[in-house]
């Protein structure tokens, strides 16, 4: 720039100052006559002039002296103040000096803020300040500067806080512009902080860029919660010149900067609430996006007028590419009427994060436009998605791990998982899922024949479905009932979502990854979500914590086998840690940060705390008792109940009197007098919701339908709950030669054949169906006609017809036990072949003489063989194995196995029909053969099974060689299949399982 140019700029600058502000812009445009550079120079100088009123106002000598004074403050460095050793000074400002100090007692670094006396010479004020600061110190949120301590150190008021390295948002705003996503990220974190503070009843009142720290790792920290009130109070009593000087000294241009971020109600001096912070956040977003403040004037009064009366220019005026949604968010935050604003910072944060996510997705789509969908998981991924659950009969996606269980594990499964748990991660997948079958059943039919249980107020429940993807795994509602967190599993990818109940909008807080999220629990304040991450590569499950509105997940503690439950004061949490190999099941209590672990009670076999599947315990509202789903075994088998563990001394009380088939989740009602729980009335019935009086043992039914309920989470006042409702539709199709194009649907029932499907030699189909209200065995022609029910007693599954066609073998659950039976093709001549507790999954030899089956009765699950006429069974193999299927020539048996010492450690083994060591091991992922879907090919040369997505049948040659895809179906997943004995027809069970979150209101 030349002096001439500068003179020109100067002349115009002065001329413009003479012009009324309203006409200034027009004046300048005329004067500059298209000289954009001149216009910009003068405009920025005018703006600078407005800001510079305090700039270099004090003489240099005074400025230097103040700096020197500050230096002498440094004399404190190295000194001890109380238990703090001062390391260095990190800031000086209107609110006092801030030092980096070491807390010598706790050995951690802290920022020590010493307040100037002029803020605190009024005793009442000190009192208020301490109250506020102490309230703020209760805030525990990753986006809020943690206050360690507030007090008085040798006559000086101090606050010790977390020490944060980074820069203020103010600095950041000056250095480089924010892109929209960065701005959203920062804003959402501020929103999270505000939401958490507001939930705790603390309003910031002074949200501005100077109070926001940006850490290098992307974390945003909001500072000085609770302190703003103090400055408000003192502002009248402090000489404005001092304040000005403080500001001048610290940051030129930010003269009394707070005004620009004040809400209208604050500017008016009215009472404020959390919505004032929402406004300020709106101003900050505006500034981050446009590098301008929405409300500004030459003086504070002008700014105030703008805040009260003027609508700011749209963001798009400055940044044309700004998303309309962001415009909407900012407009809503800057609504002058508090009622029109976001009522809750949480909602604003959700909107911000959702938009941020959408932009991410858009960017991702843009990046990956030419890409095809090649991100399919390898089929041997140790994970079981929702679709891979067939024979568990509409379970939600099973948690598959060392625990190898699913939601509604039966007692049968329980035993198995006890045996197998922690022996290896994926090993159990096939085994347990198969065994689940034995226990999952349909108690409703029987219930209707029994005396009706007392009906409670629950009959008027209102049920709202919150999701529609059908892929939900686990869900929990926030204590205030405003938000629901749920995990989804899609194509073996787990993700975590938070849904705002009122608006119905969901935001993804953990994007899809090869992990599954279970045991979801909100912290008592609703700020965090605790969950267990099921990662295939990890052998034990750990508890993690993530801010409820997203952020980084941090590990809290390892070896957590149930969802956690919180003490009423929010300081501690409890969960079950199971060591099935040692036969020990412990109720563990820890501090919320995972420290201070203490075992409250340990149950030893045959007693146990339930730990498999999604299990929820509940800490009572009075803090005294933790209700835990528990179980035990006696001569009549396993049974379940709810045990109350007393927090004080670890002793227990039985809270339920009935023998339940299974109790999975329990929650205390509002007044600790009753329990809401998810339980199977009998081992084989569906899990339903119940209310049980802990005083009288009286049982009330909450739900009474054909769905299965697989989770339970209550609001604080117990007025609402969420659960995961699971439904299945399954029908039988027939395809000549397995040709998908010629496949024909032959039934229209709701749940046909998923638990068993077989052909008779003369081309009839024998299948399971729950058309009568519980699982029974039926027969029909291959075109669906002449459908007849063959069994009427107990719960019947897994029909298999011998090639000779004389008998159907099947297993029946009755009287708490499962045994193998046979009957004629017309249902007559029924004969029980085994007499144990758990004998199931029979197959019959082609000659019709022998039945092989699995049983864990001897401790490990093994294969057994019994004559078609009954008698003493013989053990076929000393190795653990399950789901035997006999080759068409009756010479070999294929069975799934898991064996840590074998190679591969899991898969399918082939062994001689008469038993002995396996002759071959095939590497077939166990989740691909779950249920009944492992069969020999009609020619006996291959084994057939489903791919992991359940979309088609695959064939692997026994002699070796790669597996090949046999069918070419599209659309709905397959649940089961059976080739006709002549190899010409393929019968299939197809349909779908949906798992969705439902909200139940009006619980009274």
């Amino acid at each position: 720039m030349t002096p001439e140019r500068y003179r020109m700029i100067g002349e115009l600058f002065h001329a413009a100052l003479e012009v009324n502000e309203a006409q200034r812009a027009v004046f300048l445009e005329n004067q500059c006559a298209g000289d954009e550079d001149l216009l910009r120079e003068v405009t920025t100088l005018l703006a600078s002039n407005q800001e510079a009123s305090g700039f270099i106002a004090s003489p240099a000598l005074a400025v230097a002296a103040e700096q020197l004074a500050a230096d002498q403050v440094d004399a404190l460095i190295g000194q001890r103040i109380g238990r703090y050793r001062v390391l260095s000074i990190i800031g000086v400002g209107g609110m006092g000096r801030v030092y980096l100090a070491e807390d010598t007692a706790l050995g951690r670094r802290a920022a020590l803020k010493l307040l100037p006396e002029y803020f605190t010479h009024d005793r009442n004020q000190i009192q208020r300040f301490r109250q506020e600061a102490r309230a703020a110190s209760a805030l525990n949120h990753p986006n809020i500067l943690t206050v360690y301590e507030v007090g008085d150190l040798e006559g000086t008021e101090f606050i010790a806080t977390e020490y944060v390295e980074g820069q203020t948002l103010r600095c950041r705003l000056g250095s480089s512009p924010f892109n929209i996503r960065e701005a959203l990220d920062v804003a959402a974190q501020i929103g999270d902080a505000l939401a958490a503070a507001h939930a705790a009843g603390i309003i910031h009142r002074d949200i501005k860029p100077e109070n926001i720290m940006l850490r290098a790792d992307g974390y945003v920290k909001v500072l000085d919660f609770g302190l703003a009130k103090l400055t408000e109070n003192i502002s009248a009593s402090v000489d404005t010149d001092v304040a000005t000087k403080q500001v001048v000294k610290t940051s030129p241009g930010v003269v009394m900067g707070t005004v620009q971020y004040m809400s209208p109600e604050q500017a008016r001096g009215l009472k404020v609430d959390g919505r004032t912070d929402v406004w300020s956040l709106g101003v900050i977003i505006y500034e981050m996006i446009t590098s301008r403040r929405p409300f500004e004037g030459p003086t504070q009064s002008d700014t105030t007028v703008a805040i009260l009366q003027r609508e700011p220019a749209q963001l798009a005026r400055y940044i044309p590419e700004v998303p309309a949604e962001l415009e909407r968010i900012v407009t809503k935050a800057l609504a002058k009427q508090v009622d029109m604003r976001y009522q809750d910072a949480k909602d604003m944060a959700i909107d911000l994060r959702r938009l941020r996510h959408r932009l991410d997705v858009d960017a991702e789509i843009e990046r990956s436009l030419p890409r095809s969908s090649t991100n399919r998981q390898p089929s041997d991924e140790i994970y079981l998605g929702p679709q891979s659950l067939r024979e568990t009969d509409a379970q939600p996606p099973a948690k598959v791990s060392a625990a190898g269980t699913s939601h509604t594990t039966s007692s049968v499964e329980y035993i198995i998982s006890e045996i197998k748990r922690h022996q290896g991660r994926a090993v159990l997948v096939g085994v347990t899922l198969l065994i689940v079958l034995a226990g999952v059943g349909y108690g409703l039919y029987q219930l209707t024949n029994r005396q009706a249980p007392p009906v409670s107020a629950f009959q008027t429940i209102r049920m709202t479905r919150l999701t529609a993807t059908g892929k939900v795994y686990d869900a929990a509602i926030s204590p205030d009932g405003k938000h629901v967190v749920y995990s989804e599993v899609d194509n073996q990818q787990g993700s975590l979502w938070v849904r705002q109940v009122a608006t119905g909008s969901s935001v993804q807080i953990i994007p899809p990854a090869a992990a599954n999220y279970a045991y979801l629990t909100f912290s008592p304040g609703g700020d965090y979500i605790y969950f267990v991450k099921d990662i295939p590569s990890e052998s034990s499950w750990s508890l993690y914590r993530i801010p409820a509105l997203g952020g980084a997940a941090t590990k809290v503690i390892g070896q957590v086998d149930t969802a956690v439950t919180f003490s009423p004061d929010g300081q501690r949490m409890a969960f079950v840690r199971a060591s099935p190999q040692r036969g020990e099941y412990s109720l563990v209590v820890v501090n919320v940060d995972g420290s201070g672990e203490k075992i409250l009670n340990t149950r030893r076999q045959p007693e146990f705390f339930v730990f498999d599947g999604i299990v929820r315990l509940s800490w009572s509202h009075d803090g005294k008792t933790i209700a835990c789903p528990s179980g035990s075994a006696d001569a009549d088998g396993l049974y379940f109940n709810v045990v109350g563990v007393h927090v004080e001394d670890g002793t227990t009380t039985l809270l339920t009197s009935k023998r339940w088939g299974r109790v999975s989740q329990v929650e205390w009602g509002a007044n600790d007098s009753d329990l809401i729980m998810v339980a199977n009335e009998e081992e084989a019935s569906y899990p339903q919701l119940w209310r049980v009086s802990s005083q009288t043992g009286e049982v009330h039914r909450v739900t009474n339908d054909l769905s299965r309920y697989n989770d339970l989470s209550l609001t604080n006042n117990a007025s609402s709950l969420v659960t995961v409702q699971s439904n299945r539709a399954s029908n039988i199709w027939v395809a000549p030669d397995g040709d998908a194009r010629r496949a024909k649907q032959i039934t229209t029932g709701t749940s046909d054949s998923s638990l068993g499907l077989s052909w008779t030699p003369d081309g009839k189909i024998v299948f399971h169906s729950d058309a009568s209200g519980k699982p029974e065995i039926w027969i029909m022609n291959a075109d669906g006609t002449d459908r007849r029910q063959l069994t009427h007693d107990g719960y019947n599954y897994r029909p298999v017809v011998a090639a000779t066609g004389r008998y159907i073998v099947f297993h029946r659950f009755r009287g708490g036990k499962t045994n193998v039976w046979r009957m004629d093709l017309d249902g007559g001549n029924q004969l029980q072949l085994t007499n144990g507790k758990r004998n199931f999954f029979p197959d019959i030899s082609s000659d019709g003489q022998w039945v092989v089956y699995s049983s864990p009765d001897s401790g490990e699950i093994r294969l057994w063989k019994v004559s078609i006429d009954g008698g003493e069974p013989t053990q076929l193999s000393p190795l653990n194995a399950h789901l035997p299927v006999i080759s068409p020539d009756d010479k070999q048996i294929a069975a799934s196995y898991q064996d840590e010492k074998a190679d591969p450690i899991q898969g399918v083994m082939i062994l001689p029909f008469n038993g002995g060591q396996p002759t071959k091991r095939l590497n077939i992922a166990l989740d691909a053969i779950n249920g009944f879907a492992l069969h020999w090919s009609p020619d006996g040369r291959s084994l057939l099974y489903f791919d992991a997505n359940l979309s088609n049948i695959w064939s692997i040659p026994i002699a070796g060689g790669p597996a090949t895809q046999l069918t070419n179906f599209q659309g709905e997943p397959l649940f089961n299949f059976a080739w006709s004995h002549d190899g010409k027809w393929l019968a299939l069970a197809r349909g779908r399982v949906t798992n969705d979150v439902v909200l139940i209101n009006d619980l009274k």
């Binding site: 100052l17 230097a64 990190i90 803020k113 002029y118 103010r170 402090v238």
Partner: protein, 193 residues
């Protein structure tokens, strides 16, 4: 520290303005003495809000350093100009030295609240201002003088007008434009909006 009579100070100033750098070495401790006196005041009294007293003390300090009322000086205006230059030189050196010291001391520049940074950045303010003032002098020498006289020399508008032999109104206009310009420069530089 031996005391200096106004005459002595005047003599030193003249010597310095004639190019005698050793005079600076003698003057600097005088300025530092005033700085410490003021600093002590801020340390012990800043919380009282006795700003009138503070202002008076600053004025006193200037008076002690540049006792223009008692100075028998042929060219009053020249004297003011020299003393303002001197203050600028000493105070900027002070700030610069302080900044180095801070950096050498490894202080972490971390802002914790609305306070901007003590130490390097704040000390840099005077240094940065000095540099910006140098740039301004190239665009408009008189404006830079106005700032030097008022900010570093502690002169009033009228005194500044007297030194520069222009009207008070001109000084006011110069001051307002220079201040806006400097503020813009420093804001750009410090990343402070």
């Amino acid at each position: 520290m031996r005391t200096h009579s106004p005459e002595e100070i005047t003599r030193l100033l003249v010597a310095w303005s004639d190019g005698d750098e050793s005079a600076l070495a003698e003057l600097t401790p005088l300025v530092y003495e005033e700085l410490h006196r003021l600093a002590h005041h801020y340390m012990s009294h800043e919380r009282d809000g006795h700003t009138l007293q503070s202002t008076a003390l600053v004025n006193e300090a200037y008076v002690r350093l540049i006792d223009w009322k008692n100075v028998r000086w042929q060219n009053r205006a020249h004297f003011f100009a020299v003393s303002a230059q001197l203050m600028r030189r000493i105070l900027v050196d002070f700030a610069r030295a302080r900044g180095y010291q801070k950096r050498g001391g490894g202080t972490h520049a971390v802002a914790l609240d609305e306070a901007a940074l003590v130490g390097t950045e704040e000390a840099a303010d005077l240094v940065a201002l000095d540099e910006a003032l140098g740039l301004l002098a190239e665009l408009d020498e008189r404006q830079s003088k106005v700032v030097e006289l008022r900010f570093f020399g502690g002169l009033s508008l009228d005194e500044t007008a007297e030194v520069l032999k222009v009207s008070t109104g001109t000084v006011r206009r110069d001051w307002s434009l220079a201040r806006a310009w400097l503020h813009r420069e420093l804001t750009k530089k410090q990343g402070l909006k």
